[in-house]
């Protein structure tokens, strides 16, 4: 009986990372999910990650605490207003204020450390270069540079026990394609959370994340299970 290969999956609790976990599972990986409590304003996100990990049969789920928010510089961790009601053209222009400096670098570095302890060489991250074209650390060249670094940074890489691979299966998919793929794989998107500015348990419906998500369900022709705030929705 062969042992399942292990993979570390970065899991935020959002639509993209849930789909990424489902893809890793469908490829036969034993999945070790990693979420971060980094001073983001919504713990609702971490609760969603826990629900998603359970529903999709993750082998283990850990939440690592790190005070990335202490540096400020982002609307997701500091006291900067989350932009609302922007159309896709506006979103694509420049790097948004919701960008957290070096976030994916820190997350992948941490995942790499856990992978090394687990004897895993596969990391999964739900970055997407279509919707988040403005985020430098969501681009294919960033992913490739990180793979190269991982082989040089680790005992396992240096000893030639394997080569690290950063899987970014959503990289070139549209939001609608991501949703279609997730539905095929049985993802229950009602468990996920995307909103940058939730009103209690309800999504605002107007931030970039909500708009991309709503449009994605509409284009995919899939019913949107998200509960939006009635006072906020446009």
């Amino acid at each position: 009986m062969s042992q399942a290969r292990r993979a570390v999956v970065l899991l935020s609790g959002g639509l993209d990372s849930a789909t990424t976990l489902a893809i890793a599972r469908s490829l036969g990986y034993e999945t070790y999910c990693l979420s971060f409590d980094y001073g983001q304003r919504q713990s609702i996100e971490l609760e969603a990650a826990s629900r998603v990990a359970g529903a999709l049969g993750a082998h283990e789920h850990r939440v690592a605490h790190m005070d990335l928010g202490a540096f400020g510089g982002s609307a997701l961790t500091a006291d900067i207003a989350v932009p609302k009601d922007r159309d896709p053209t506006e979103m694509a222009r420049g790097i948004p204020v919701t960008y957290v400096p070096a976030r994916n670098t820190v997350f992948l570095a941490y995942a790499l450390g856990w992978a090394e302890v687990l004897g895993a060489f596969d990391l999964f991250i739900g970055v997407n270069a279509v919707d988040y074209s403005g985020y430098p650390d969501c681009r294919p060249e960033f992913i490739a540079a990180f793979e190269r670094l991982a082989d040089l940074a680790t005992r396992a890489g240096v000893q030639g026990l394997g080569r690290f691979r950063v899987h970014a299966p959503l990289l070139t998919l549209s939001k609608a394609d991501i949703i279609r793929r997730g539905v095929e794989l049985g993802v229950d998107y009602a468990l996920t959370h995307s909103c940058y500015d939730p009103q209690g348990a309800l999504a605002c419906g107007r931030c970039d994340a909500c708009r991309l998500r709503r449009d994605g369900f509409r284009v995919a022709g899939v019913a949107d299970p998200t509960q939006y705030s009635p006072t906020e929705a446009p």
Copy 2:
């Protein structure tokens, strides 16, 4: 009046990072020192970092909490015995159990995030490829790969505002050379802490870090200000 360039300096409280900070200061940088509370067994190390930052005129010193130790896999964070009384030949053989998986990758990633918020492009790290030849993330090829990643990972790098540089001024120096350089720059090594297995406030004198440090002072012809445990010293 020109503004001093800012640099983020990784500061552990040990001999190497104290010297690195002194070098960054001597080059005219306004220094932002970063230490990590990552579940290492000695908080004495963080107290040393704070003393060193103060004594060397750091502009700011932050301690970031991250539970890197939760993954285990190292004698510095897990319940694995610290090796004692090894000679340099033994130390150089293979990767020691005191290696913390992906530690420098995580530390540099975090430093990069802070640098981006500060508008800094210079990171300083006290890695050394002579004494720590067994650590994959203390090698020049690792440093070069991280610089490449940094330019791709950040808003500042992508927008071409500057190029990130990881300064590793101790990379090819012997421990004696490091101590000589530090003494020239006025580093008070009595403030620093290197021991992997301290007995109260006293250094054990027998772990790899103590042995390298003792030998360094001896070869440099500098009086060793370290207080060693009388029961432990060989």
